[in-house]
Amino acid sequence: MSTAVKEDREILHELLNNAGVIIIYLDINGNIIFCNKKTDEITGLSHRNIIGADWLKTLYRGNSNIIKQDMFKAVMDECMRHKREKDFEGLILDSDNNERIISWNLTPVLAENKEVRASILIGQDVTKIREAGNSAKNIDQTLKDILFGLKEYALYVTNLEGNITYFGMGSETMLGWNKKEIVFKHAGMLHNNKEAENNLNFILEQVKSSGKYEKETALLTKSGDPVAVILTVNKFLDSDGKHSGYIFIARDITEIKKLEYQAFQAEKLAALGLLSAGIAHEINNPLLVISGRSTLLAKEQLSQKIKDDLALINEQAERIQKMVDRILKFSQKTKIAFEAVDVNEAIDFILPFAQYGNLPNVKVEIKKYFAKDLAPARGDLHQLQEVFLNLIINAYQSMPEGGVITITTNSFENTHAIIQIKDTGTGIAPEHLKDVFMPFYSTKNEGKGLGLSICYNIIKNHNGSIELDSQIGRGSAFTIKLPFI
């Protein structure tokens, strides 16, 4: 052998054995004629055991790989039949019995007569690359799962003109629109454009000029109801970094607003409690004097007429005293305490307060049908009084021309007290019935829309239920069930 040929062989040998890829030379039957060091390394098989063995049975050994063997045999047959190279991936077991992902290239070797006489199998270990890719895919999927799981967030994207190009994350849930029906529509429909700073054009201008818009505001759902959100809008940049649209992220803060309002109400009530105590004190002193002096005068030698007048003065003073006492008791918020509550008495107590809101020229008749000897319900007296007051005031307000409020109490299956407050007012449209207990729902111009949602929460906390039955033009009936103590 000439030196040149010898050197070439040595170079070729070095090349094959130092290559970082598996190189296998197969005969026409798929038996391994040659394999390089990398093959030994990755498979952990002895070189002697590899040479001459069927490559499929060697690399895809084990019964579990029978299917793989058939698959790759089919690949090989196709490669040989069509005399063209084939790329494919497969898993093999390495020396530690771990799976490795190998990216194979199978190339047929043609003889002079163009028939396949052998094939070369080159395999690159892409295990690490694939794992990193899966990891990224997993992270991406996890992120998507997290984002989709955050029910209080909505994300949508518009183009520069404000037309929606992407409606994702919690947008459908929060806003009620199906993405198919809203994509390409103008995002202005999600905003209350009557409010200057909520107007979509204002928002887009702000983002254009300052780069960002972030504000507590409200978006409109498909049914036109507002959802309290913190809205953040940023520029959407394309892959070239060019400003091509806007990305909107809205966080639903309805629950937060509800809690804030409740806290505010609690503070207001606490302040009212203090104020009421002060006012009561200022009223009780002069009332005592009026009542006391008229009582003493009545004991003097006076005409019957004067005595009758004095008795009337005393009676009226006592009437004021009782009302002041009621207001004081109602406004003093004590800690929530569950006790035995006589619902009939609780309703009777707050009924006068509800009547104060009624205009003198509007005739509203109250009909009470209270169950006798109704067992006490388990509840916090003040909270239940608040619920009854709220519902009765609502009943009054639904009857601006006057009407009848019917209040009924009864026992339900000997387990619950059932209270119904019914009016003959305007009623509520059927499409709104499901929303009446939602925060911020209101049909009243001046209403904040939290009264009924607070009532709902109070009754739920009492392990009770509250339902509404209403018909337009016929009135509404709220039915509350509270467990007996």
């Binding site: 002193n285 009332l287 003493l296 005293q321």
Partner: protein, 126 residues
Amino acid sequence: MLYKVLVVDDEAPVRDLLNDLLRREDCKVCICGSGEEALKILQEDVFDVVLLDIKLPGISGLEVLKNIRDTNKNLPVIMITGFGYNEDLINRSKEFGCSGYIGKNMPVAQIITTFKQFAKCAKSGE
């Protein structure tokens, strides 16, 4: 004479009324308009019962009660107040050792009856 009573109330019409009402019940009544005045009077004279308003200018009725109790555990002191039935005030009054609590929002006849009941209980407990 039923009782010798010290009436402490900053409102003149109220203390005059209480004066007249108690005198009709055969009580001997001394009236004053502040806690400081009441404590001074109590140092110089002996009373069977004190009828003490809670809200006073200067030191409050509760502080007056505390002062009285520091030197005299047995003197019946009945609190009277325009704040009506107030749990917090009742509890604090009891804590400082009052013998009774009357709300000015009660009917007049009930105020007198309640006063007499508290005074009788306190005196019999001596």
